[in-house]
């Protein structure tokens, strides 16, 4: 029994000691965030003292620091335990994995230490949206802002409604230091429907109840085409003594160009319009000036339209510029109202005249096409006025009307570039000079080839001639061996004639003309004694031809002739 009691006492004491052990607990929320996202660092401790928390580098302290305490019943000891809280907000300015803590609480001489918390920070995701998509990051924040636009894509000239929309988890008591959103290059903007008071609306997004209100609503008329950015707005929301600064995300919208086939009477209007016309006077005399009132009513960019063209027929002259009266307001649909143009027109003809209707065209963004509207024609009875002096000829009337109605005639962007002249460039000189160089090179090469062919031909011819001559002398030898010396001498003579013909390149050589032959052979540097030897050989052949020395052996003559040819006629 004693033992049991002792164990229970010891156990209770141990538990008591454990329960009363000083505790410092560090928590960071969220543990996964983005650069710039608000982090809440909470320290819970049952010890009160001097607090010091180790923060990682890159941590930017926020405005909110909350201190508090609460008491809880410790069911183990039955005592009330007091817990002290400290909460701070901030954000990391770089991505990575960071360690928060430990937190130290110094009480007296003792220092109590907390745990460490690791937080992963990712790079900030670019959020571009038309204001309808809300990201998870935004929902985690106590308050955030978006820029809302009525459309994500508009036509050139079409109005666009833009407003700031703020979402918060609490009801702000005040709005401070508001810096409006800005649209690059847009100068035509008008405030609409901005109330002095803030009207809240409670909505639920992904299970989170948020208070929302709109602010700074404008109707803008952007110029140009393409994508346009809307820079974020900034403000500070106040909740009692707490200040929460917020910067909205930026947003973009697209401006589409109007189709290129605009009618001639297009006045620049984008929206929906109607036109009416009224004559100022009913009874007119020739030469009278009457007012023609044209009223254009519409919604859209009414304030930017041009005056409609009257297209007056002959017999009517327009005087001066019209008196323009504007009666419109800027609202959620753009400029809404009417513009009245009061023209002064003189009638120069008489009789029953037909004043053709006034037309104008506008672009309807919902139908995505140009729409032409027209007033009806007016029939006017004009009395003749003999006193009226028509100073302006009818041929000039249309010119005057043209001049008065002239609007600036512009050229579309054909983006023509004056072509860079190729003259003087390297490419030009190469293209110009290379055919000439190639022509000369090929020409010279071709000529050399031709000359070579001629030489080769001559050499070939000489070789074949030489073979022929040798064949003749061989035949002569054969004839001599067979005893036909007459034929043999004839062949020797033939061989000599051919050899000399080839040497002298003379096809019609006559061997009997000895003087000429001597001259020709001498001119080819054949020595005179060699020429005499030749003549002796030829004489011998002649004797046999004429019947003298028929039986003489021709072998020696053949050899002599061969030797003479090889010694004197080679080369």
């Amino acid at each position: 029994m004693k033992l049991v009691a002792l164990h229970i006492t010891l156990l209770l004491s141990a538990l008591t000691c454990l329960c009363q052990k000083p505790m410092v607990l560090l928590d960071v929320s969220p543990k996964d965030g983005e650069v710039g996202e608000i982090l809440t660092i909470t320290i819970k401790s049952n010890v009160q003292g001097e607090l010091n928390v180790e923060m990682p580098s890159g941590f930017v302290h926020g405005y909110n620091v909350l201190n508090g305490m609460e008491q809880e019943m410790d069911y183990n000891t039955g005592k009330l335990v007091t817990y002290y809280y400290m909460s701070q907000t901030g954000a990391m300015n770089k991505e990575g994995s960071f360690s928060f803590g430990p937190a130290y609480i110094k009480k007296g001489n003792k220092v109590y230490r907390s745990n460490k918390v690791t937080v992963n920070i990712k790079k900030e995701q670019q959020e571009n949206h038309t204001g309808t998509n809300i990201s998870a990051k935004q929902l985690r924040q106590p308050a955030f802002g978006v820029i809302e636009t009525s459309k994500s894509s508009i036509y050139e000239g079409e109005p666009l409604i833009v407003n700031a929309k703020i979402y918060s988890r609490f009801r702000p008591t005040e709005l401070e230091n508001y810096e409006s959103y800005s649209l690059n290059g847009v100068v035509d903007k008008h405030d609409i429907g901005n109330a002095q008071r803030i009207f809240y609306e409670e909505i639920k997004i992904k299970g989170i109840t948020l208070n929302t209100f709109t602010h700074d609503k404008k109707v803008v008329f952007p110029t140009g085409t393409g994508k346009t950015d809307i820079e974020p707005f900034k403000l500070i929301l106040r909740r009692n003594f707490e200040s929460i600064p917020l910067t909205s995300a930026e947003t973009t919208f697209e401006i589409k160009p109007l189709p290129g086939n605009a009618p001639k009477d297009f006045t620049g209007g984008v929206g929906t319009y109607s036109i009416s016309r009224k004559l100022g006077q009913a009874n007119l005399k020739q030469g009278d000036v009457f007012t023609l009132v044209v009223e254009v009513t519409g919604i859209g960019n009414l304030h930017n339209i041009h005056e409609p063209k009257l297209n007056l027929p002959k017999g009517f002259i327009l005087y001066g510029d019209p008196i323009v009266k504007e009666d419109f307001v800027f609202g959620a649909r753009g400029a809404e109202g009417k513009i009245t143009y009061e023209f002064n027109v003189q009638v120069t003809k008489f009789g029953e005249l037909n004043l053709t209707g006034t037309s104008m065209s506008y672009f309807d963004p919902t139908k995505e096409r140009y729409v032409t509207i027209r007033t009806g024609d007016d029939k006017i009875e004009v009395e003749k006025n003999d006193k009226f002096n028509l100073t302006v000829s009818s041929e000039n009337e249309s010119d005057e009307n043209q001049a008065k109605e002239e609007i600036i005639s512009l050229r579309p962007n054909e983006n023509t570039k004056t072509p860079q002249s190729m003259y003087g460039t390297k490419a030009f000189w190469i293209a110009f000079g290379s055919p000439l160089c190639l022509a000369f090179l090929f020409g010279i090469w071709f000529k050399q080839k031709k000359e070579k062919q001629v030489i080769e031909g001559a050499v070939k011819k000489a070789k074949s001639s030489q073979k022929e001559i040798e064949a003749i002398f061989d035949q002569a030898s054969i004839s001599a061996k067979s005893g036909d010396h007459s034929n043999s001498y004839r062949l020797v003579e033939k061989g000599l004639q051919q050899a000399i013909s080839v040497f002298l390149q003379s096809e019609h050589l006559v061997l009997t003309n000895r003087n000429e032959l001597t001259q020709q052979l001498s001119s080819r540097n054949i020595a005179s004694e060699n020429i005499n030897v030749l003549f002796q050989l030829l004489d011998r052949c002649e004797y046999v031809r004429f019947g003298f020395g028929e039986t003489a052996d021709s072998s020696t003559t053949i050899d002599q002739a061969k030797n003479w040819v090889s010694q004197n006629l080679r080369g």
Binding site: E156, I408, S409, L410, N413, N415, M422, F432, F440, I444
Partner: protein, 241 residues
């Protein structure tokens, strides 16, 4: 590295051409809305990226005309007419500017008919003609090596003279574009100097006057006026076409 540079250059070119297109559309819109000063600014920014955009030059001249800045209107319309010598609408606009200045005259081109004709054919057309003639001449030269004939040689000589003419025309057409012989007085009135020492004469040149550059002196430029007379003026007082 080279690929990166090429991609960067291409991206920059596309970006600047898109910017220029955007400014052009803005200029058109503003001009149609009769906001000429703003339109002039937009068209000028287009010309900064593409100085040879003829439509922008024409529209700029037109805007200046409607804005009653006649000297500048004449300058830009003259620039336009230099590139499009037969555009009658531009000629009419210049006449309107003269009328607004109180000058009773019509526009006449400062360039001779030959110069204009050479330019209108096109500098690159002359270049292509020269290259074609060179190829034909080369062929004839080659043929003459094969077989020398009097006809071939005569033809080569003729083509040689034609080629030289085309080369000269190509050079002249190129010079025409770069030529800055003529200038327009864009200020209301500019003084005429007697000498380089700064002494003034009693005469002045009025807005819209066209002058022809002759030579540069120490401090001024010598120009020829439309009547044939010469004058000494400051080069900053005029803008060259």
């Amino acid at each position: 590295m080279i690929r990166f540079t090429i991609v960067l250059f291409f991206a920059f070119s596309c970006f600047t051409s898109l910017l220029a297109q955007d400014s052009f559309e803005k200029g058109l819109y503003l001009a149609q809305a009769k906001k000429y000063t703003l339109a002039i600014r937009e068209f000028k920014s287009v010309l900064e990226t593409n100085p040879a955009n003829e439509s922008a030059i024409y529209n700029l001249g037109n805007c200046y005309l409607h804005n009653k800045e006649n000297g500048k209107a004449i300058l830009y319309l003259e620039k336009y007419l230099k590139l499009n010598p037969s555009d009658e609408e531009a000629m009419t606009k210049i006449d309107q500017a003269y009328l607004q200045l109180g000058l009773n005259k019509t526009w006449k081109s400062p360039y001779s008919t030959t110069e204009i004709l050479i330019f209108q054919v096109g500098p690159n057309t002359w270049v292509i003609l020269s290259i074609l003639l060179s190829i034909i001449m080369s062929w004839l030269i080659f043929l003459s090596f094969k077989e020398a004939r009097k006809n071939t040689l005569a033809l080569i000589l003729l083509l040689f003279f034609l080629t030289i003419s085309c080369l000269y025309s190509a050079f002249a057409a190129k010079q025409y574009i770069a030529d800055e012989r003529f200038a327009i007085v864009t200020e209301k009135s500019i003084p005429i100097f007697a000498n380089d020492l700064g002494e003034l004469t009693q005469n002045t040149l009025s807005e819209g006057t066209r002058v022809e550059f002759i030579s540069m002196t120490k401090t001024n430029i010598k120009v020829r006026l439309e009547g044939g007379k010469t004058a000494l003026i400051k080069s900053a007082s005029v803008e060259f076409i």
